[in-house]
Symmetry: C2
Subunit: 385 residues, 2 copies
């Protein structure tokens, strides 16, 4: 790869949402050019940020080829593309892709993901591939009701997941998730947990950097806030960081990765989900850490040395600003937050808002986590989008 | 003006260089769209960052009209456009322009600028408009040789300035600067100074924010480094900040402004130059202050409340990385700096390097100014571009 600090170096993003947008802002900071391939025709966040924008299908290597040939390196912002497509794209274009298709293959399917991490000695929630209807009842009897049914590919933010309380529920969900059509459906036991934790890891051939262990606050399976460092013991934080690094190594990851854990009521960490990309749990790192997850994302996939993940203040809180109305996007009542010291607004440039859609976020830094969390929540409560 | 936190809000930049680029990155952070009008056909830093790029002449209102009508607000990144052009553009497009043509008119011409600030009680270096050859000698006899001849419009980074040691020098320079063709030429006495200082001020209808007083280290009339806060007494820092605010108020400035001062050997502050835009002396604010000059630039011209200019560490040093070769731009030997804690690289995406051209910069934060300055200088000494 040529020196990524050349001004004609082009980093390509597969996907044009807010994660690619925030990474692209860092790429621009290094003087790079940004190209984007989107599976949507227009008006996606990154499409407003570059003259090099192409639309097509994530299933169609042919439609991606011109884009790929223009790029010096390609990276992803979501999991909606198949590793076999990535592999063909790399082969036909000659352009390196990181995280690599080989790494991606080990986590794109939830069954293989769990097997990969289990094999590396990382505890995961109990699970089983559901092959036939009888399996549904058997899993409930073995691990208790309710439990989760998940499609093994393509789920996020609770989509593709169904909580099932009994056999009838489960059969209905199995059908809804496409089990009868042959989609792989996974049963997963509910973990009794006190906290949901997350850790980001950046890694490439120059080394690795592990971010602080943070807590994700979820509401209806959507992350609404992140507290960093997580209000758990240093020992648990360290364990989560070690497991996250181990998981990154298990897939030989090159790029930025995020790992979500349950801290169970009996004090164990269970790996819940992984993401081969910047993650909502790491947005606080933009102002909260010396080097953000987005900057290390760009560095990692370009083979540049990684920057420090140290926090610059004792506490950081990120609040997701979800859409409140069906309308053209506009952030209202945000000015109180903008004048509050050490409070930072990010809006993603999505043209249309709808209730629950991730539209923007606020990060507040402070000295005390709970005070900062309370202040941040109060400041953002009145915001409408 | 509509709410600037609408995702279809368009901020327009007149000029497509690194100053507009760094402001545009902040506009994107707020979800805005960015449009740019450049007087160069292509390959300018901001042109790689938006699908909304137009080229034309800064003298031709007609060529700017489509651009202007697309924008919700327009701002500038340089002084190469005439205030009468700005005024016509605003009138014909209906789009607000900040800083306003009225503010700009008071500083675009060095003579009027000095008169404006003098009238506001701000000390400036002794000067005189040269109307005829005899004035040249008279000024030298009154204020001593050498002194400076400056064209009253269009100079920057030492261009448009000539140091004259005697009458013969002066006549030659007068001719070179276009004095015989009727260009206004200003004579300016040399100030004996110990430090060159700078202060940025953001101001709009919601209030104002004054940045710390920093020192600019100059070499051949080009800023090579900035130290913040300036290694001068707190009293002097405060005086410079007060004068900078007074100067901003004197032109009723709305936007971000920078003011450069001489601290004379006898302890007086003289206003040297002003800029109605983000300034090289304020690049350190990106990582060094809670809200950068670029973020407050965007906030100020959009009518948003301004953010804190407080420094987040006791010391910040910015090193300009000037081009070292005539070649395609590539930053070499920068990786040592990238792994140094709290050291931040910015490259401007200019495709072509040439010796002395401003290509990139590094900011290093620390606890002690001189130690940080030494470390930053050492780290960047080996960089080639």
């Amino acid at each position: 790869m040529k020196n990524p600090l050349s001004s004609d170096f082009v980093i390509g993003f597969l996907g044009a949402g807010q994660l690619a947008r925030m990474s692209a802002l860092q790429a621009f900071r290094y003087g790079m050019q940004v190209a984007v391939f989107s599976d949507r025709p227009e008006n996606e966040p990154v499409q407003f940020m570059t003259p090099h924008s192409v639309s097509g299908s994530f299933d169609d290597v042919e439609s991606m080829l011109d884009f790929a040939k223009k790029c010096d390196v390609i990276t992803l912002e979501n999991e909606f593309i198949d590793s076999t497509v990535l592999e063909k794209l790399r082969e036909r274009s000659g352009t390196p892709i990181f995280p690599s298709p080989e790494s991606f293959r080990l986590i794109e399917n939830k069954l293989i993901e769990k097997q990969t991490f289990e094999a590396a000695g990382i505890p995961v929630t109990p699970y089983k591939l559901i092959r036939k209807k009888e399996d549904i009842v058997q899993f409930g009897e073995e691990y208790g009701w309710p439990y989760l049914l998940k499609s093994s590919k393509g789920g996020y933010d609770g989509y593709g997941n169904e909580t099932v309380k009994n056999a009838e529920d489960a059969e209905h969900a199995f059908k809804k998730l496409g089990g009868e059509k042959g989609h792989d459906i996974l049963a997963e036991a509910f973990a009794d947990f006190t906290h949901e934790l997350a850790v980001q890891v950046a890694r490439n051939e120059t080394g690795h950097v592990v971010y602080p262990c943070c807590e994700t606050v979820q509401k209806n399976h959507i992350c609404v806030a992140v507290k960093s460092p997580a209000p758990v013991s240093e020992n648990i934080q360290k364990q989560a960081q070690d497991l996250a690094l181990k998981a990154t190594e298990a897939i030989d990851g090159k790029g930025i990765f995020a790992f979500e854990f349950f801290l169970t009521t009996d004090g164990r960490l269970l790996l819940n989900e992984s993401a081969p990309r910047p993650h909502n749990s790491g947005h606080y790192t933009i102002e909260g850490c010396i080097t953000s997850q987005f900057e290390n994302h760009v560095r990692a996939v370009c083979g540049l040395p990684l920057g420090s993940s140290e926090m610059i203040r004792p506490a950081a809180v990120m609040i997701n600003l979800l859409g409140t109305h069906n309308r053209n996007a506009v952030v209202e009542n945000a000015t109180d937050g903008m004048i509050e010291t050490d409070t930072h607004l990010h809006s993603y440039g999505k043209l249309e808002s709808k209730p629950g859609r991730k539209m923007a976020h606020f990060t507040m830094l402070g000295d005390d986590l709970e005070i900062t969390y309370r202040r941040a929540t109060e400041l953002t409560n009145s915001i409408e989008i």
